[in-house]
Subunit: 476 residues, 2 copies
């Protein structure tokens, strides 16, 4: 029975895209409705998002972020105020044209992102330097009319948070932009166990309307990159377009400097593709809605279910724990724990009870150990920490062993085609070269990392003097 | 300065509607954008919603509720499947007609509520009795194209939670409907300090598509009622319209029985109108983002700010506490604390420090007490509990003293016109009578309370035999 269910997961090696779809289905993360291109987050999927929200929100608040909520609909006139921004988003928004039984005088788009609305709001809300900084964030959903959709990675609606700040000076805005990128990077590493490369996007890849865009880039198991969070510095461009000014201490009217930053349910896609294996999902303990599943063996025998419940009660003090007391077979339950990515499984049967022990199984390594019931809480608590640490290390080892360098064009092409992963290479800084590389190899610039190296003096593509080392890669 | 700011709040007696608007503005709960009829929740307003969410969600989960997220857009065809439901909602929805650059083949409405989507989802997700019950909830925003809007009470978009459940039997569905109504009632009383009347809506007032609708009704300070939460039993009506069936243990295909239940940001309107006074907002401690504000007196004197910070550190162990160290005058800060409804204010100045004491002021009663710094944590912790309890009692006393009975039509009219509040009266059960009463007096049936009394044998309006005692009232 167990094997049969696992068989339903295509192996990664065979077909990574199908493996991904299978894991999403088998872990019961998403569901379907007849709304095309839109995703349902089922309890197992939404609970991961709740844990992301809770832990990320706490980190935001430590840096002084306050949460707000702005309208989900944006009048066309507002969207059009910033030229680059409207060009970037207008082709992919959903338009509301009728309210109730009447046609609207001005159509409204369902927010694809809320820079324009925050500007409109700040324009009314900010008058003096005393009102600054504004460090606001909202948790909400946005709509972008994507043509091809995949659960978590690309869908017509997704959940996210979008931070929008306004500052008195350019320096302060830049500082906040980098600060939030660091919050994202730490969160990915410490909570999601996903190591990321921090850096700046090129002109071509930056956000519509931004002066500079910073990004964290993660490497998936198939060697493709996933942009996992971005932080933008807008300078005073939006402020000028929307007239967001404040009276400074010197009584002069000045434009504010703005930033925005966001992460989305895409992070769940990253968790799946960084940690998962051919048995299914593998959740880092800090983000696992159920950290420990107790599986009773021969549960109809007297005392087994009672013991399982007793262990649950004890373990609930150190973990999020459940008992699977359904009438499925133990083998089936084991497979289900694995598919759903539960970090630790505890098996307890009549013989274990007799010996005052139980079997503890790690999802990440498959390792089984016998543990005395007297030491169960301590062991499980420690084990969850160890798994969290080991999963980050495993992901880092994978990322590092799939990060290559190329100093010549031949080497670059050869690497892209045969070694899926990040490629570090020097670049002249010209968009034309970047476009050529993409067209020839499918690899795009992921970022200009903060940690620069001098691999060579010339651009890997055109041979002209190099300006930056860049991470390249094929990407989701 | 303090008085001047408070002057900006119109007195309740003079103009309750203007008082409400003034309090919302002065407590800095909402803001404006150019999106007509839509509200911005500013940090002070959103933080209250976050506390509502957190505490209500925990109560939901204790009863086995799991959170999910479904699409925000609903195809027209889905909305039309249940006849009563579409009639109830179609006139007030916003329609998306274009996605990206193309006109959609089928228009989509922005969800006004999600019964139809949950049915569509359950139809695909439920196959066997093993899949039941489904006890799902989502926290999201919905859009209803209201003509007149008021912050929190009525706006074109509002935040809410909507629970949607599916059960094997009619009994189980009814049980869940009542269970959730009780969760709402307990939450309102224990957390928001708002006493409510629990009961059933009449046929005329029930939800579009429901077999029965239950409600909690609260009484505002001006004697008008506010429907504060509803819980609906749909029987198998939606299941039949959408074909939501399961194979039972006897291998027969049966229709599920469904419920839905929701509360909204309207609860914040209730908090304002039940507890507020002419000095502004008055928050029950359990829902106050800041429970204690420390105001330093003569803060430029040596040691004052340090002492204030020391007290903050100590009080943070028993409360959500802040120091107001801005350069505003103490009087201004006091007024601001009052307008924003902060339950406890702590004043600390050089003389207090010398005497090892501080002044503690209750927002609900205005009472001031001197407290030894040695006993500060214990005193404040106790005081917050006392305020919470006293605010519920004060609200209950107001509600009870504004609940009247009428056994004759003359008495009914006299009461509605001269004594704002709830009126308990007997009713024959006919919609016609209910409509007459509304047309003549403006008072609608609020609910048929679970706690019935026999005030007389005949209907207060038509004189025919009475079937139910009903709470009547003018309402928001």
């Amino acid at each position: 029975m167990a094997d049969k269910k696992v068989e339903a997961i295509t192996s990664m090696e065979e077909d990574f895209a199908q493996w991904y779809t299978d894991v999403v289905v088998k872990a019961d993360l998403t569901g379907y409705t007849s709304v095309k291109g839109f995703m349902v987050l089922k309890p197992a999927g939404y609970a991961i998002w709740e844990l992301i929200q809770k832990q990320l929100d706490a980190r935001f608040k430590e840096t002084g972020v306050e949460n707000v909520y702005l309208p989900m609909l944006i009048p066309e006139g507002l969207l059009q105020k910033e030229k680059d921004h409207v060009e970037g988003f207008a082709p992919e928004v959903a338009w509301v044209t009728h309210g109730g039984l009447n046609e609207l005088q001005e159509k409204l788009c369902v927010r694809p992102t809320s820079e324009t609305l925050f500007c409109d709001f700040y324009q009314k809300d900010i008058t003096s330097y005393r009102d600054l900084p504004k460090v606001y964030n909202q948790w909400c959903s946005v709509v972008r009319w994507e043509k091809e959709t995949r659960p978590f990675l690309r869908s017509r609606e997704f959940l996210w948070q979008e931070g929008h700040t306004a500052h008195a000076t350019a320096e302060e805005a830049e500082e906040r932009t980098i600060q939030m990128l660091n919050v994202y990077a730490d969160f990915c590493e410490q909570v999601l166990a996903i190591p990321v490369v921090k850096g700046q996007k090129t002109e071509k890849e930056k956000f519509a309307g931004a002066v500079s865009t910073y990004t964290i880039e993660a490497l998936m198991h198939d060697g493709k990159a996933l942009q996992s969070g971005t932080s933008h510095n807008f300078g005073d461009g939006f402020a000028r377009a929307f007239g967001v000014q404040y009276a400074d201490k010197d009584n002069q009217l000045k434009y504010v400097h703005q930033t925005s930053w966001g992460v989305t349910t895409r992070l769940i896609g990253a968790i799946i593709m960084v940690h998962g294996d051919d048995n299914g999902l593998k959740l880092p303990p800090m983000i696992a809605p159920t950290q420990v599943m107790i599986v009773p063996i021969q549960q109809k025998k007297e005392g087994v279910l009672e013991k399982a419940e007793e262990l649950r009660e004890r373990l609930s003090k150190v973990s999020r724990v459940k008992v699977d007391a359904t009438d499925k077979s133990p083998g089936f339950k084991f497979a289900e724990c694995e598919m759903r990515g539960i970090p630790v499984r505890v098996e307890i049967g009549p013989r274990d009870i007799e010996n005052n022990q139980c079997v503890v199984v790690r999802r990440d390594t498959g390792e089984k150990i016998s543990v005395s019931l007297d030491e169960l809480e301590v062991t499980v608590e420690e084990l969850l920490k160890t798994i969290q640490k080991d999963m980050l290390e495993a992901a880092r080892a994978h990322r590092d062993s799939h990060t290559y360098t190329a100093t010549t064009w031949e080497e670059f092409v050869e690497t892209v085609n045969n070694k899926p992963g990040f490629i570090k290479a020097m670049w002249c800084g010209e968009t034309e070269c970047e476009e050529n590389i993409k067209a020839e190899t499918g690899a795009s610039t992921r970022c200009m990392p903060f940690e620069q190296e001098n691999l060579s003096d010339v651009c890997v593509c055109c041979g002209k003097p190099a300006k930056k080392m860049v991470y390249f890669g094929r990407a989701y």
